[in-house]
């Protein structure tokens, strides 16, 4: 068995409208990985996922799922794959239980086993109490959970989630994060696309960035973040100031009278900054990033790639 859950080589897609969505992407995802597939709107993420899931027909290239060439044995490859689409894709008039049980049936799981698996999956995702409700009566968050339940019912080894937390409140989002971490820890390889970069930073080990149909980065999250030259921090101070303190080599501005905005270069020490502030009688009560680190890096990379 290959050590790769997914191997994409020279993947190209041109739509009938002559829009070139993918210009030859190469990407490998190791078994057990939790990969963030990022990119601005229209970058080619959904086309890539669509091709892997057989919802989009590729123009050229190869896709292998756990070493199975999708051109040669797509049914076998599909058995390894679970996909949570961006848009709701179930019959809203069916009951939750029926939707998941039917999906299991499409994977060849006999009805008796399908019902048992559905019960386990729905309980795991907190949907068991809703099993007899029509899907249309569910809230947005529960519909998202139902999408995940459907994708997991055949216990795929590779799970692809296309913006699974879009429009989901923060509490539910964090619950979903815990759930995804858990299934990844249990061995499921996960590929996640999201516009919440904080989410990608929190969850993912590796990152791939697509822009204008090309893969512009594929590396570990740690490596990418380490390339950030300057990070901005907001420091809340106890006493108000009229002017920002002057500390050599540090670029400090006042956000308001009790908040300092400090730009820290890669080679600068936070300890040194705190010592200097302390020497000037300034006590810091709390600190936070001005913006998400990955977000800064992402914007930087995408802007560099502008045509």
């Amino acid at each position: 068995m290959s050590q790769f859950a997914l191997e994409i080589s020279d993947l190209k897609k041109t739509y009938d409208s002559d829009v070139v969505a993918l210009k030859g992407i190469n990407l490998s995802v190791k078994e057990g990985d939790f990969l963030a597939l990022l990119g601005p709107n229209g970058a080619g993420k959904s086309s890539t996922i669509g091709i892997i899931a057989s919802l989009v027909t590729k123009t050229a290239g190869k896709v292998k799922i756990f070493d199975i060439d999708t051109d040669k044995n797509f049914p076998e490859a599909k058995r390894m794959l679970g996909v949570v689409s961006q848009e709701i894709n179930f019959n809203n008039f069916e009951k939750v239980m029926d939707i998941v049980t039917t999906q299991a049936g499409f994977y060849g799981i006999p009805l008796k086993d399908a019902k048992l698996k559905t019960e386990i999956t729905l309980k795991r995702l907190g949907l068991w109490d809703k099993r007899n409700e029509q899907a249309r009566t569910l809230s947005g968050g529960f519909k998202r959970r139902l999408m995940i339940a459907k994708a997991l019912i055949h216990e795929p080894k590779l799970l692809i989630l296309d913006e699974p937390t879009a429009g989901v409140d923060i509490e539910l989002r964090r619950e979903m994060w815990d759930f995804l971490k858990e299934i990844n820890a249990n061995g499921t390889t996960i590929i996640l696309t999201t516009h919440y970069l904080e989410e990608a930073e929190q969850l993912c080990k590796n990152i791939a960035i697509i822009d204008h149909g090309e893969l512009i980065e594929s590396t570990s999250m740690k490596d990418l973040l380490s390339r950030l030259d300057v990070q901005s921090f907001l420091l809340d101070i106890e006493k108000s100031l009229e002017e920002p303190p002057s500390i050599s080599d540090y670029d400090i501005t006042l956000e308001d009278s009790t908040t300092l905005n400090v730009a820290i270069k890669k080679d600068q020490s936070m300890n040194h900054l705190f010592d200097q502030l302390s020497n000037q009688g300034i006590k810091v009560s709390s600190m936070r990033n001005e913006s998400n680190r990955l977000e800064e890096m992402f914007i930087e990379m995408v802007q560099k790639n502008l045509p």
Binding site: A53, L55, N89, T102, Q103, G105, F106, G108, P110
Partner: protein, 259 residues
């Protein structure tokens, strides 16, 4: 063997889902043909029929029964598949099938079997309704009757499937039933024998495929027909093979379902 069993389970799942779908909305799917056909039997059979007299040597209401059953069977098997498949496209729940390992032929067969089962149930309902108006009705050739019934439901389910593949809106799924199927059925010998038509119209009628379906079914039920039965049966089978192959080709290409 394992793969074969998995495909069988997935096929049964899809057929079960399709049957549950139209049974869940039975007021919209099973009741209307019974009501409409009752009205046909009352008006054309009991009220106007006696004034018409006989058709091909049979009571008019008796002559009409196979035609009306076929009319309901054709429209319902077609409507079932076209509306169901277009709905799954519209709701994007087609992705559930496309993402799964189900082969294209099993997807096609699942939808077609949904249409066949609804067509057969409707055929039985209309036949039962007809017995209220003509209790002494007996089927001359049950084997031919059932064969034509199944073949017809398969043929029109396949047509519905093709319509749904190309449909981009709900308007598109009603155009062909309204402007093509219904006129052809009405002019296809449901209410009359083409022997009563002038030569020119009789010859034109021979080009109507519905005429063959209706008359073969009438041959099975009553033993009378305006067309050659072996020719009609072979044409039905030929078109089933042709349309079935076309459906598989379209599914393979992803027409209307894959980008």
């Amino acid at each position: 063997m394992k793969r074969r069993n998995e495909i069988l389970v997935s096929l049964i799942t899809l057929i079960r889902k399709e049957i549950k779908r139209y049974l869940r909305i039975w007021v919209q799917t099973l009741v209307p043909p019974a009501v409409t056909m009752s009205l046909y039997f009352v008006i054309f059979g009991s009220l106007i029929g006696p004034r018409i007299g006989t058709m091909d040597g049979l009571d008019y209401i008796q002559f009409m029964i196979p035609g009306l059953i076929m009319m309901s069977v054709i429209t319902n098997s077609y409507a079932n598949v076209v509306s169901s498949f277009y709905s799954v496209k519209f709701q994007k729940s087609i992705e559930e099938l496309l993402i799964s390992p189900m082969p294209n032929w099993a997807i096609l067969l699942g939808f077609v079997m949904g249409g066949v089962s609804r067509g057969v149930i409707i055929g039985c309902i209309v036949f039962c309704v007809s017995l209220f108006f003509y209790p002494s009705f007996t089927i001359v050739n049950p084997l031919l009757t059932l064969t034509v019934l199944f073949l017809t439901t398969i043929l029109f389910s396949l047509m519905g499937f093709i319509n749904a593949i190309f449909a981009d809106s709900f308007d598109d799924i009603s155009i062909i039933p309204t402007f093509v199927l219904t006129p052809l059925i009405y002019l296809g010998g449901v209410f009359y024998s083409i022997n009563i038509l002038p030569d020119i119209w009789r010859n034109i009628s021979m080009a109507n495929p519905m005429l063959y379906v209706v008359n073969t079914f009438r041959e099975g039920m009553l033993g009378v027909s305006d067309v050659s039965i072996p020719f009609a049966l072979s044409m039905i089978v030929f078109f089933i093979i042709l349309l079935g192959s076309l459906c598989l080709y379209l599914l393979h290409k992803g027409t209307g379902i894959r980008q």
